[in-house]
């Protein structure tokens, strides 16, 4: 991870945090949370909408499919700013992502958080997806031809 462009590393951990269930994230992150009084909320956790766009035929002109709820929060700690964005109405999830994001930018804290929060969450996501893909693959049709006689 440390070899990636800083933005790419950040994009990656934000994706892991948003794709994890808040019930999985919270217990892992809580031991690392700084004192609330040190956090300055630029944007209090709140919920809004994002219009989901599709493309005609999958690749053509853009069109609006409908809106998704998005919760977000922005927090500063020691001159760094963390941003949390996640689908859904769970503002606690967005709050935790923002705090995790600001903590992960601190090179001193990064290795511990990566080890104790991000990596286990990432493994859980991978395991969940692979399980689902295996179950899906079992429903693939194996066509066979009825052979009638040899001549």
């Amino acid at each position: 991870m440390t070899h990636l462009h800083p933005d790419a590393a950040r994009q990656h951990w934000l994706a892991i945090l948003a794709n994890s269930h808040v019930d999985a994230l919270a217990p892992r992150l809580v031991p690392h949370l700084p004192d609330e009084s040190r956090l300055h909320w630029l944007r209090q956790p709140h919920t809004g909408l994002a219009m989901v766009e599709g493309r005609i035929g999958g690749s053509g002109a853009r069109f609006n499919l409908g809106e998704v709820t998005v919760s977000r929060a922005s927090v500063t700690l020691d001159e760094r700013t963390g941003h949390g964005h996640v689908k859904g109405c769970d503002i606690e999830h967005a709050r935790l992502i923002a705090i995790a994001d600001v903590l992960l930018q601190d090179p001193e804290r990064y290795p511990t958080l990566q080890r104790e929060v991000i990596t286990p969450l990432e493994l859980a996501i991978q395991a969940r997806r692979e399980q689902q893909q295996r179950e899906t693959a079992a429903t693939k049709v194996e066509f066979f031809t009825m052979v009638r006689g040899e001549d």
Partner: protein
């Protein structure tokens, strides 16, 4: 480093919007804005409250006086779109007395959609009745005399020219030091020969 804005964005912007509606309903009566946000130094908190309330990513703003810091702050809190020219702007933030585009260039709406017109938020130092023209129209029980500091006869003449084709026209707010005055397109300048209260 960015700073925060409204402490309670939903309710603060609702209350600001309510105050703006009142200001348009009773033009040229100074009202107060109930919620003032933290704002960058060059942007008066009263104007900041209005901009935070009106702007979102679908609104095009023309604001040549915004400092880079204020621009970043406003962008972060509203995600507004910058207008490429004053003609395209839905909202303009202008400092009264600074260089500005001619009002005649602003969007006045179309007959089918008169709402597709520009709203100007003027940052002002204060208001005075001294030497002010007299206004009348819907929302005036009696004609009233008032003007923001720095407005002159040429300014009012220009404003009058924009609102000749009602329902087309532009709406304006004057704000500064916690005060707010509205001037909708339906207001008119009263002939000087007639008495004013």
């Amino acid at each position: 480093m960015l700073s925060a804005a409204f402490s309670d964005p939903v309710h603060d912007s609702q209350q600001t919007f309510r105050a703006m509606l009142s200001a348009l309903a009773e033009p040229m009566i100074p009202g107060t804005l109930p919620r003032l946000p933290e704002a960058p130094a060059t942007l008066d908190p009263a104007c900041a409250a209005i901009l935070l309330t009106l702007l979102d990513q679908q609104v095009r703003l023309w604001a040549p006086d915004l400092t880079e810091e204020a621009q970043r702050w406003l962008q972060f809190h509203t995600a507004y779109t910058s207008a490429e020219s004053p003609e395209q702007a839905d909202i303009l933030w202008l400092v009264l007395g600074h260089e500005r585009p001619p009002l005649a260039r602003l969007k006045q709406g179309e007959l089918r959609f008169p709402d597709r017109s520009a709203t100007v938020v003027w940052q002002v130092e204060g208001f005075t009745e001294l030497g002010a023209p007299c206004f009348e129209g819907p929302g005036f029980q009696t004609p009233r005399r008032l003007q923001p500091l720095g407005a002159d006869a040429a300014f009012w003449h220009e404003w009058q020219q924009c609102n000749q084709h009602y329902p087309l026209g532009i709406d304006m707010f004057f704000a500064g030091n916690g005060q707010l005055v509205g001037l909708p397109r339906s207001s008119r300048l009263r002939e000087e020969s007639q008495a004013c209260m």
